[in-house]
Structure formats: C-alpha cells, structure tokens
C-alpha cells in the first residue's frame, strides 16, 4: 500500500526526528498516579461535606491530572521548551475568560432576582 510518503520526496513534510524508547517505567508511574488521584477524588467526595474548599481540591486535583497527562503521556515535558510554550501560553487567555464570565454569571444571578 502506498500512502503519500515516498522516501526521498517531500522531505520537508516527512522529516521525523529519531526517537528512542525511554522504557515504560515513567508511564506506569503516571498511570498509578492518575488512578490514585481519581480514587482520592472519590473518597473526598463521600468523606467531606460540599464546600468551596472541597471544590478547590477537586479543581486542583484536575489540574494535577492534566499536568501528568500532558507532560508524561503526551510527552510535552520532554519536548523543546519552545513547543511547550507555544501550546501552553495561549491557554492563559482561557483563564481570563473563565474569571470574566464566572463574574458575569454571578452578576446575572443578582439581576434575575432583582
């Protein structure tokens, strides 16, 4: 079967840096970490009564999980820092949008009950 790749042609497109296996140790470590945090989520959900602090814990755990998925599974930790910044820095705008629109959401609530 022939796909668009023909060695010697379109090399600008088909250039692939040489990669080596770093073993599966880090991957399994990440798996147990993700599983552990999810179990911890589950436990906290039933042990702690609902509160703003509990929500903070859940969001913090979510960000930790995101860090390990992007860093280890998606390998971004081992890529060039330039690439990591190109991907991560634009997400700052999302943080701005979140804080802005949550504030507006609360204002909407106040307006509705006026």
């Amino acid at each position: 079967m022939e796909f668009y790749t023909k060695p010697g042609e379109y090399d600008a497109i088909n250039y692939v840096p040489h990669t080596e296996s770093h073993g599966t140790k880090e991957l399994w470590k990440t798996f147990w970490l993700l599983l552990g945090i999810t179990v911890l989520d589950f436990v906290i959900y039933f042990v702690m009564p609902a509160s703003g602090f509990r929500n903070f814990i859940f969001i913090f755990f979510g960000l930790v999980k995101a860090y390990y998925i992007v860093g280890a599974f998606m390998h971004l930790k081992h890529e060039k820092i330039n690439l990591a910044l190109v991907i991560l820095v634009p997400m700052i705008f999302v943080l701005g949008l979140i804080s802005g629109l949550l504030y507006e959401g609360s204002a909407l609530e106040v307006m509705k009950s006026m």
């Binding site: 090399d11 991957l27 599974f73 060039k80």
Partner: protein, 256 residues
C-alpha cells in the same frame, strides 16, 4: 528495497521547513497535531466556560444553588436498580479511559522499538477501551433521557429541603416551585450535559476511528516500510487529549 531508506538520511540535503531544520525538533505532522489540539482545547474551553457561567448564574449562596445536585441524578449503576450510587459509574468510565490511555502510550513506546506485534496488540487494547467507554456513555445518556432530560427541558431541580433553604435566604420570585418535592431546574443543566458530554463522546468516537485506521496500517506493515511509527504518536496525542478533556468534564459535571 529502496523503501527501507530512512527519510532522515536525505533530510540533511533538503531545505526542510524553509529554515533548513525543524523549528521545534518535531516533525511537521506532530506539530500540526499539537496546533490542532490547541484549537480543540479552545473549543472545549468555550463549552466549559459557558457551563460555568450558567451555573454561576444559578448560585444563591456559596453552598446552596438552584443548579441540580449531580449526586442525586447520576446515581445509577447498570444492573443495580433502585440503589443510590453516586459517582460510581462515572468513576468506572474514568478508569476505563485512563487504562486505554496507558495502552495507547505503551503502543507509542513499542513503536519507538519498532515492534510491530506489540504496537498492534496495544492498539487493539486501546480500541477496546474506547468502545467500552462509548458504551458506558450510551448507557448514561439512556438513563438520563429515560428520566426526562431533554435538550430543551430539564426535569431535575432541587429538593424541598433545598427550596426551603433558598426561601429562607431570600432568592427572589423568579424561581418556580412545582408540585411534589422537586422543582424544574434550569434548562441549561440538561442541555449543557448533552452538548459537552456529546461533544466529548464524538471526540472519543473519532479517536476510535483513527485508532482503527492506524491499527490496520500497522498490521499491513505501512509503518514498517516507512521506517518509523510516528503515526502512532500522532494518534496517541489525540487520544490523550480526549482523556484530558474527560478530566475536566468529570471534575465540573460530576464532582462539583
């Protein structure tokens, strides 16, 4: 066979990426996958920010909210009728997705070692995980719709107890109290659940299709002839992104 020539050898003489080398030391395809995932992250962010805004516009006090409590709605488990089991089923779904992420990353690792047999084996595991997750989501949707949730309507509200508390803190007259011990909560609750989990489920479905295609290519020896298994990495990036989105769906739709 000439096809065994690595593309790396000829790279030296080519004006790759116009500047003579790859800017980020990744291939063109992988960088483009990253850029696509960035735009996809914006898509999901916009959906989740919309969810947050709707939810914040239904908060009365930091703890009491007119937003229905997920624990009282997503509390079913297959074959366990009438039991109150919040969070359990969705935790199983999360476990399935994490597990399929691991098999995916093991396929990528096997690809680095150019082990065709292992790559195809782990790809099969990943596809099974994806299909299992989709089946779980179908059951979740079925249960939710069966209980009256619609895109344009929401039968879930707060309990009588919650209503009385809201009344005592004075929430205004815009809130309708229906007969029985349940209110009809904000419509966006059901709509956003369908849109966000539906959009995520669609991504899982596309991921499964991509994985199947990549698996067939592996089995037919396309990557073996190409000399590298980078396509597995690109499919893997997409698959992990789906897992990443689920982390936030899980947090905001079920935990909080």
């Amino acid at each position: 066979m000439a096809n065994h020539t690595s593309t790396q050898a000829s790279f030296e003489n080519q004006p790759t990426w116009a500047g003579g080398r790859s800017p980020f030391n990744v291939s063109y395809g992988k960088l483009m996958m990253w850029i696509f995932l960035l735009s996809d992250a914006f898509t999901f962010s916009s959906l989740l920010v919309q969810y947050g805004t709707q939810r914040f516009s239904n908060v009365v006090t930091p703890i009491t909210t007119k937003w229905p409590d997920p624990a009282s709605i997503f509390n079913h488990f297959p074959l366990m009728h009438g039991l109150h089991l919040p969070l359990l089923f969705v935790s199983v779904m999360t476990f399935i997705l994490i597990l399929s992420s691991v098999t995916m990353v093991l396929a990528v690792e096997a690809g680095h070692r150019k082990s065709k047999a292992e790559v195809s084996r782990y790809m099969v595991y990943t596809i099974i995980g994806g299909v299992a997750f989709l089946s779980c989501q179908a059951w979740e949707w079925y249960t939710f719709i069966h209980e009256g949730a619609r895109l344009d309507g929401n039968t879930f509200g707060i309990t009588k107890q919650g209503y009385d508390h809201l009344k005592s803190v004075g929430f205004g007259s815009h809130f309708e109290w229906a007969d029985g011990d349940r209110t009809f909560g904000p419509v966006p609750f059901a709509a956003l659940f369908f849109i966000v989990t539906g959009f995520h489920g669609f991504h899982v479905f596309s991921g499964v299709v991509i994985n199947v295609v990549v698996y067939i290519m592996t089995v037919r020896g396309v990557f073996e002839r190409r000399g590298h298994y980078e396509m597995i990495e690109k499919a893997g990036l997409y698959w992990h992104f789906v897992d990443l989105v689920w982390v936030f769906v899980f947090t905001f739709f079920y935990l909080i």
